[in-house]
Symmetry: C2
Subunit: 179 residues, 2 copies
Amino acid sequence: MKRIAVDMDEVLADALTEHLIRYNRDHDEAITKGHLHGKWLWDIVSADRHARLEGYLRSEDFFEDLPVLEDSQEVLAKLVKHYEIFIATAAMEFPNSFGPKYRWLRRHFPFIPPMNFVFCGDKSILLADYLIDDSHRHFERFKGQGLLFSAPHNAKVTGFRRVAGWKEIENFFLPVGRA
Amino acid sequence: MKRIAVDMDEVLADALTEHLIRYNRDHDEAITKGHLHGKWLWDIVSADRHARLEGYLRSEDFFEDLPVLEDSQEVLAKLVKHYEIFIATAAMEFPNSFGPKYRWLRRHFPFIPPMNFVFCGDKSILLADYLIDDSHRHFERFKGQGLLFSAPHNAKVTGFRRVAGWKEIENFFLPVGRA
């Protein structure tokens, strides 16, 4: 059985929407995902507010109630029948996120056993055939095939097989007639 | 640079000593490591107390102040100069342990970057050349070489390269004249 490692933020969990809500609310701004084509939020927010941006991610409750990305539950529920699925999230930058991330995964993806959760930093430690991730930096030392999950910040990144959403992932891994 | 994945409990952190202290204190017993030759604590404690044994591991503070295993800091501080060191701990069974384990590693092994911490369940996800672990079950699907770190519970396990302590690990990875 082939193994797929799946990133969490911006692939399963819509952390960006929550980040925008908090930033806009506190700064009376109206930044949307549309403003972030090819950019990180850090690129368009003035440097004196970067500590604040980071602070949101470090807060206890940030990762607790993130929206689930469209079709991710339905497609992963199909994929688990044909592939070994691991969820691999770079949680070490934000130790406060451990508990919330664990609870979020149990709540929204109860069909994936916790034994298949990986909270890590450097994803080159992962032994998998595929890695679905919105950050192409994780593909540099990854031994399997990287699939770049489209997100505003990576809109201009080239050189990787790209998937625009979970329906595309379904077509990639479960071509019609196989599911 | 070759990569070594290092387990945490019973390899870096002496969880067993803490477990015995708590159990003996609450049950007026005097079980020592000597009683556990080839056995888990679960094997010698009556079944009606198993939930209690498990409860200790689930408590918020269990993993916060564990003793550090002898020579582990000194030897790892040498190994990081010659090998890529990852700490890989099966934390998913005890979600309350995430924070304490992270803080413990930062406090006692400040020279290992958090990006190299892996909190996981199924260790077959690890891509490493070596895995030092006291549980041989993790070697079954591990692609590199397993090194069985001696602990009371594995005293009778055979069939694996065994290391009795950190000085032996030093000799294995840094033969005299190399360090």
